[in-house]
Amino acid sequence: MKLITAIVRPEKLDAIREGLEAYGVQGLTVSAASGYGRQRGYTEVYRGAEYNVDLLPKIRVEVLATDEQADDILDVLIASSNTGRAGDGKVWTVDVYEAVRVRTGERGAAAI
C-alpha cells in the first residue's frame, strides 16, 4: 500500500474531491498547512508598511491506496490541483507497512 500526500492550494479542494471520486477513491483526509516553495517572496503593503511574506496557506490531502492504484491516484491529484503556476505544491508517496480500518479491524488492501 501507499500513502499519497499532496500539499496544494486550498481552493483546489473541491476539484480534488471531484477528481478522486470520479476515479473511485472512497476516502481521504484533509488538514491545514502552510509553506513555501519557489513562489516565495511576496511583498505586501499593509497600512503603509511593506512586508515580506512567504508562508502561504495550503491544504494537505492524504489518500491511502493500494500499490496498483497509487500511480493513478497520484496522477489524479496532480491533474486536479494543477494551475501551472508556482505555488501549485508537491505530491509525494510513501510506502505503507500496514493499514487497518478501525471499525472492522480489516487489514491491508481490505482496509482501504
Binding site: 492550494r9 481552493e11 502552510s34 513562489q39 517572496g41 511576496y42 505586501e44 499593509y46 512586508y51 511574506v53 512567504d54 508562508l55 502561504l56 496557506p57 494551475t83 501551472g84 503556476r85 508556482a86 505555488g87 501549485d88
Partner: protein, 444 residues
C-alpha cells in the same frame, strides 16, 4: 433654548439609533462566512458615510414638510440644503434623529447580497437609493406627503399608521433587497454549500443585542407623552420576547432543536413587526403580534430555498414579512385609545384597508425605483464580484484583509496568495511568481 426633557430623550434616542447600524453590521457580519465578514460590515459602515452626507446636503430637505413638493412624493431638496434655514432651536436634533433612520434602512438592504456584491457598486448605490427611494418614502409617510393626513392617499383612505417605520424602513429595505438579489443572482453554492452557515454566532447575538437596545430609541424616540413612551417601551420589549419564543418553538417542532441564530432572528422579527404598531397596540396585542411575526418569519426564511432566490441573510424573510405583518396588523389590533380602533377592538375596516394598500404601494414604489437604480449600475459597472473573488472571499479580494488572524501556528498571513487579485498589479514576472491562474483585473 434650555433643554426640555423631551428633547434630551430625543438626543439620547438619536445616539441609540445610530448605534444600531454598527449593531446591524455585527448581526450581518457574524452570519456570513468568515471570508466575507469584513465586506459585510463594510457595507453598513460605508452606508453611514454616504447616507450621512446625502442627508445633510439634501436628504433632510427632501423629507421635511414644506409647501414646495413634487406630487406629494418629496419636498424641495434645496430649501434646507446643507441644513441651512432651519429656525426652530430643536430642528437639528430632529434632523439628527431622522438621519439615523435613513442610514439603517440603507444598511439593512445589504444583508440580501452578502458575499458577492461589488463594494464600489454598493457604495454608489447607497446615496442614490437614499435620495430617490428612502427620502421620498419618509416624506410620504412622515413628512406630510402622500400617505399622511394631508396627502391624497391619507384623505382618500385614511392616514397610514406607521409610528416608527414598518413601511418606510422595513418593507422598503426588504423589497430593495429582493430586487438586488434578482439582479445580481445567487451565491455560488447557494442551498448546497454547508459553509454558508454563520461563522460567528456570538457576533450575531451581539448585533441582535445592540439592535434591541437601540430600538428603544428607534420606537420610543418620537413619543409625545409619558404614557405613550411607557407603552412603546413595554411593547418594544414584549413583542421581540414573544417573537423569539415563537421562532424557537417553530424550530423545536420542525427541526428538533431551538438555535441561537433563531433566537437572534426572532428578536429582530419581533422588533420589526412592532415598529409601525408600537404606539397603537396594547402589551397583550404586542405579545400576539410578536408571536405571529416570530412564527411567520421562521417559516418564511426557509422559503428562499424553495423559490430559489438567495436572500442571503433573510432581509426578505425577516424585514419584509414581519414588516408587512406589523403594518397590516394595526388594522386588527389598534386600540382605540391611541387612534382609530382596529377590527378586533370594534373599529371598522377603514384602517385595515389603508394599511394594506399603503404596504402594497410601498412595495411597488420601492420595487420599481430600486430596479431603476440598480439595474443600470449592474449593467454599467457590474454589481457582482467575479467568481474567483467570491471563492477567495470578498474580504481578501475587495479589502485585502482577513477578519481574523489567530494563527498560533505558522501562517505568515493568509492574505498573500491572492496578491494580484488584491492589488491588480501583475507584472509579467510577478505573474509567473504569483500563485494566480488568471489576470483578471480587480476593482473593490
Amino acid at each position: 433654548m434650555d433643554f426640555t426633557a423631551g428633547l434630551v430623550w430625543l438626543l439620547v434616542a438619536s445616539a441609540f439609533v445610530l448605534f444600531m447600524t454598527p449593531g446591524l453590521a455585527f448581526f450581518y457580519g457574524g452570519m456570513t462566512r468568515a471570508k466575507a465578514a469584513l465586506n459585510m460590515m463594510m457595507m453598513s459602515f460605508i452606508a453611514i458615510g454616504t447616507v450621512t452626507l446625502v442627508w445633510v446636503l439634501w436628504g433632510a430637505s427632501m423629507s421635511t414638510s414644506n409647501t414646495d413638493n413634487f406630487f406629494e412624493i418629496f419636498a424641495n431638496p434645496f430649501s434646507h440644503f446643507g441644513l441651512h434655514n432651519f429656525t426652530d432651536p430643536a430642528d437639528l436634533l430632529h434632523v439628527g434623529y431622522a438621519v439615523t433612520f435613513a442610514i439603517i434602512t440603507v444598511a439593512l438592504i445589504s444583508g440580501a447580497i452578502a458575499d458577492r456584491a461589488k463594494f464600489s457598486a454598493w457604495t454608489l448605490f447607497t446615496p442614490i437609493w437614499a435620495t430617490l427611494v428612502y427620502a421620498p418614502m419618509a416624506y410620504m409617510v412622515w413628512g406630510g406627503g402622500l400617505f399622511s393626513s394631508t396627502g391624497w392617499f391619507g384623505q382618500t383612505f385614511a392616514p397610514v399608521i406607521d409610528f416608527a417605520g414598518g413601511t418606510v424602513v422595513h418593507i422598503n429595505a426588504g423589497v430593495a433587497g429582493l430586487i438586488l438579489v434578482l439582479i445580481i443572482g445567487n451565491r455560488k453554492g447557494f442551498g448546497k454549500d454547508p459553509n454558508h452557515r454563520p461563522h460567528n454566532v456570538p457576533l450575531v447575538m451581539l448585533g441582535a443585542a445592540i439592535l434591541w437596545f437601540g430600538w428603544f430609541g428607534f420606537n420610543a424616540g418620537a413619543a409625545a407623552t409619558v404614557q405613550q413612551a411607557g407603552l412603546i417601551w413595554i411593547n418594544t420589549l414584549v413583542a421581540p420576547a414573544a417573537a423569539m419564543l415563537g421562532w424557537l418553538i417553530v424550530e423545536r417542532i420542525r427541526d428538533g432543536h431551538p438555535t441561537s441564530l433563531g433566537a437572534a432572528s426572532g428578536v429582530v422579527a419581533g422588533l420589526v413587526a412592532i415598529t409601525p404598531a408600537c404606539a397603537n397596540v396594547s402589551p397583550l396585542g404586542a405579545i400576539a403580534l410578536g408571536v405571529a411575526a416570530g412564527v411567520a418569519s421562521a417559516l418564511a426564511v426557509g422559503l428562499k430555498f424553495k423559490l430559489g432566490y438567495d436572500d442571503s441573510l433573510d432581509v426578505v424573510g425577516v424585514h419584509l414579512v414581519s414588516g408587512i405583518i406589523g403594518t397590516v396588523a394595526i388594522g386588527f389590533l389598534a386600540t382605540p385609545t391611541q387612534g382609530p380602533a382596529g377590527l378586533f377592538y370594534g373599529g371598522d375596516a377603514t384602517q385595515l384597508v389603508a394599511q394594506s394598500l399603503a404596504a402594497l404601494c410601498s412595495i411597488v414604489f420601492t420595487g420599481v425605483m430600486t430596479f431603476i437604480i440598480a439595474y443600470p449600475i449592474h449593467k454599467l459597472m457590474g454589481f457582482r464580484i467575479s467568481e474567483r473573488q467570491e471563492v477567495a472571499g470578498a474580504d481578501l479580494s475587495l479589502h485585502a484583509e482577513t477578519a481574523y488572524e489567530f494563527g498560533v501556528g505558522a501562517h505568515g498571513g493568509s492574505f498573500q496568495p491572492l496578491h494580484d487579485l488584491i492589488t491588480g498589479k501583475v507584472s509579467s514576472e510577478a505573474a509567473d511568481e504569483a500563485s494566480v491562474p488568471g489576470k483578471e483585473s480587480v476593482q473593490a
